[in-house]
């Protein structure tokens, strides 16, 4: 399994790492039992994503997709941000190995959660709810896994 150069760049030098202390919205998805957890904090300015930071526990693809999604989302309207698809994320990274495609869901779900969190905090209707894969109790991030076993 080989990652693209861009994946390796975002993994090795992830952008926007950290936590915004006085964030307007926080999204956290995944859990350590699955092996990946992501937390996104956002500042919202005029319904646009002003600042955005992430923290991720996860594999190379999880970190790279987290990093790129923060870059993609910065400056977008909230509606635009929640519309980012996992395929767009993968594409932006120059592709992901098939076994790692599920990782991009982590990043888009985290972003959606943060946006909805902001909206709910402000008494508005959440706009991403229903499209968040991790909300589905049957969601199995590794269902598409196609990896090999130990040697």
């Amino acid at each position: 399994m080989i990652y693209s150069d861009k994946v390796m760049d975002h993994f090795g030098n992830p952008r926007n790492v950290g936590v915004i202390a006085d964030a307007d919205g926080v999204g956290e998805v995944g859990n350590p039992v699955c092996g990946d957890v992501m937390k996104i904090t956002i500042k919202v300015d005029d319904d646009r994503i002003g600042d955005i930071k992430f923290q991720t526990l996860g594999c190379g693809a999880a970190i790279a997709t987290s990093s790129i999604v923060t870059e993609m989302a910065k400056g977008m309207t909230l509606a635009e941000a929640v519309a980012i698809t996992k395929s767009q994320v993968a594409e932006e990274l120059g592709g992901l190995p098939p076994a790692k495609m599920h990782c991009s869901v982590l990043a888009t779900d985290g972003l959606k959660k943060a946006v909805d969190d902001y909206l709910v905090r402000h008494g508005r209707e959440p706009i991403a709810v229903g499209t968040i894969a991790h909300d589905d109790p049957d969601f199995d991030p590794h269902a598409e896994d196609d990896g090999e076993h130990a040697h």
Binding site: D36, L57, G60, D146
Partner: protein, 400 residues
């Protein structure tokens, strides 16, 4: 990023030793005959093959050379042993016991048999990473036909009490197969002392080329052959014999055995340096199966809480270091290692495992370089982990 290159994944594969390559080369281009042909070139090939068989037989303490069957890899040896012994003499049902932390080359055929009329028990090892004889005794049944317990575990390096397990299996009329891919050449290995009926070996774990392997099958043991056709290897493994590969395997094994008296302690000392250094420098790190009564000299497996294995591996790789994680080579997958789970390692820690395996070309400087490099990598990843503080609180709490 760096010119330095430090290979610490000898349990995954080894380079072919130049002496092994030199020994095999003449059989590729010069003595290239088919070992089944009667003419001189064929007889020469056959002699080289039988000589290699004798050398392997001697090295593993087999009673007769024809107890050694050359195969193409550890996987083929395992598949052949599990399916071939279970289905010997046309048997289509019965009870099989495999330890739960076997390599998939044993588990998969056992599972396949499980779908085809056999009953399969997966015997869990104890938390010390060892299959306990009492547990086997309890699992054995009158209809148990085959027990397969690996000699040395490829992820955590624990060594199983095979001789005791074999005695128990035999008392109940079952055969015992052991996957010795990780132990052959690395610690004493003697089929007579272990009392096994069959054992699997892989060439590329002992500095022979990939694509070589062998299966020990005790004389008189019935086995349905797996690769079938021309009837080579006394009808137990068809396919034109890889004479060069057999010569390489025998040569590699003899080198392992010759060098072990010095190499074993050297590796064990390096491993201890690694274990002490790592546990001393990385907070909360633990050695897996630390309480194992016997362990291989060259494998150490750690959990490093708060870190995901692949990310750690990639950062180390960027510094020129080759190690493995999780299910060792399940690198394409986030599924946590079935081996670590089988010894009770919590799933969230299993995702952060690190296997370091040492070999012929490993130096103290290599180990030190890994330790130096690992510390900032772990720090960095933990800082990126949104749950790390919570986790530490939990670990601290648990420690109270």
């Amino acid at each position: 990023m760096t010119e330095r290159s430090v290979y610490l994944d000898y349990a995954a594969t080894t380079p072919a030793d130049q002496r092994v390559v030199d020994a095999m080369l003449p059989y590729l281009t010069e003595h290239y005959g088919n070992a089944n042909s009667m003419y001189r070139l064929g007889r020469d090939a056959s002699r080289a093959l039988e000589d290699a068989r004798e050398r392997v037989a001697r090295a593993i303490g087999a009673a007769r050379p024809d107890e050694v069957i050359f195969t193409s890899c550890g996987t083929e040896s395992d598949n052949t042993a599990i399916i071939g012994l279970a289905t010997a003499a046309g048997r289509t049902s019965g009870h099989i016991i495999v330890s739960a932390f076997e390599h998939h080359a044993v588990l998969e055929p056992a599972w396949r048999l499980g779908k085809q009329g056999f009953e399969v028990t997966e015997l869990p090892p104890r938390p010390d990473g060892t299959v306990h004889p009492d547990d086997l005794a309890a699992a054995l049944r009158d209809d148990t036909v085959l027990v397969s317990v690996m000699h040395g575990n490829n992820e955590i390096g624990t060594v199983q009490p095979i001789a005791e397990l074999a005695t128990l299996a035999h008392e109940r009329g079952a055969l015992l197969h052991t996957d010795a891919a990780q132990t052959l050449g690395k610690i004493d290995f003697d089929v007579a002392a272990l009392g096994v009926d069959a054992a699997s070996f892989s060439g590329h774990k002992i500095y022979a080329p990939k694509g070589t392997g062998a299966l020990y099958l005790k004389g008189g043991t019935r086995m349905t052959p797996y690769l079938i056709g021309g009837g080579q290897e006394s009808k137990r493994r068809s396919g034109t014999q890889n004479v060069a590969g057999a010569v390489a395997f025998a040569t590699a094994l003899e080198l392992m055995d010759a060098e072990r008296p010095a190499e074993g302690p050297r590796l064990a000392a390096l491993r201890d340096r690694l274990v002490d250094g790592l546990l001393g420098r990385i907070e909360y790190a633990q050695l897996n199966a630390a309480d194992a009564p016997v362990r291989l000299p060259h494998i150490a497996n750690f959990v490093i809480p708060g870190v995901e294995g692949e990310a750690m591996l990639l950062h180390l790789d960027a510094a020129g270091i080759a190690v493995s994680t999780g299910s060792a080579c399940s690198s394409g997958s986030l599924k946590p290692s079935h081996v670590l789970l089988s010894i009770g390692c919590p799933v969230e820690f299993a995702h952060g495992s690190l296997r370091v395996s040492l070999g012929r070309y490993t130096t103290e400087a290599d180990v030190d370089y890994l330790l130096e490099t690992l510390v900032p990598v772990v720090d960095r990843l933990r800082q990126m982990n949104p749950l790390y503080e919570k986790m530490v609180a939990g670990l601290a709490g648990a420690a109270d």
